[in-house]
Symmetry: C2
Subunit: 158 residues, 2 copies
DNA sequence: CCAATATAGTTGACAGATCAACTGTTGACT
DNA sequence: AGTCAACAGTTGATCTGTCAACTATATTGG
């Protein structure tokens, strides 16, 4: 056995080395994201999609039957990605998304969720919500509200 | 110009669609991580390392001259990765890290930061701290403390 | 109307991540 | 001593992400 090897979640000793409180906070945010991802990854894996693909599907569901141009999807994503074309390519290959070039502006490509995509989403809705609830069960409702407030404030920065 | 297209940072309309407060919080955390990454990416790019490579270097600096076995690095990383071997491969190729198989346990591979690695780290220390300070400048000191407390609590979950 | 510029998205080349199967090493138990 | 399981890490196959250069369409100014 190694000497006092701390768990994955906490490294109190290392925290000392972070020179500013802002850096501590940044690391906390990054670690928590990783924690959330590990929590949800099993759900996505089981259904054969990545979290980014799931995100695209949700955006397209939110956009409704009018569809959404490719780059508008990219803009709304949680994680900004320049690889939106191929992300949608993969979803199209799985028949979860359909694309169409409208005649009024032939530069655009409108994307729509298919029936299969909507079905997949509704299969995922409950497990995803459950995982989020589980992952954040340590916080009370008012703590969640406070956390959301603080994070939204952070991003309102630039 | 498109009708009322909202900015990248905020989509208040979509928030309504998230069915639980836990999901709202999860999305806030994920979005904030993406925000932080974009903030720092220029600094890392400029010095030819990825944020994960930087993380490895910092861990090795923290480990001191005793070095650290490969998988112990993986355990301490902010973002857990199964690709630690090749991550260290790349750092070794850049001469920022050195590896050695000790004779007392020839299964292990001990990793050390080189002088070049330490030099790179000290070049990065200030810009990284500045970026973190800038990214989180919207929060007061006590808000930062509260944010850290909440996030640590989240991760103490499982 | 035509060139110049801007917009929307695609493509190729390459770096990085992921998963499972594998090698070499050590410790434990007959 | 000999087998077996556990450990530490590597490797190959495959997928995904990223950046820059490119195509096609639309808009704008002369």
């Amino acid at each position: 056995m190694k000497e006092g090897k701390s768990s994955v979640v906490e490294q109190p000793a290392r925290k000392r080395l972070l020179s500013s409180r802002q850096q501590q906070a940044a690391v906390s945010i990054l670690r928590t994201t990783d924690y959330l991802r590990r929590f949800c990854s099993r759900v996505f894996d089981r259904h054969g999609v990545t979290s980014q693909q799931y995100n695209v599907l949700r955006i397209l569901r939110g956009a409704g039957p009018a569809g959404l141009p490719t780059l508008d999807i990219a803009e709304r994503m949680i994680e900004q990605t320049p690889g939106i074309t191929r992300l949608v390519d993969r979803l199209e290959a799985k028949k979860l998304v359909r694309r169409e070039r409208p005649s009024d502006d032939r530069r655009q490509v409108l994307c729509y969720v298919t029936k299969a995509g909507l079905d997949l989403l509704s299969e995922l809705d409950t497990p995803v919500r459950n995982k989020a609830n589980e992952a954040l069960r340590m916080l009370s409702d008012s703590e969640l509200a406070e956390l959301i407030r603080l994070l939204d404030r952070v991003r309102s920065g630039p």
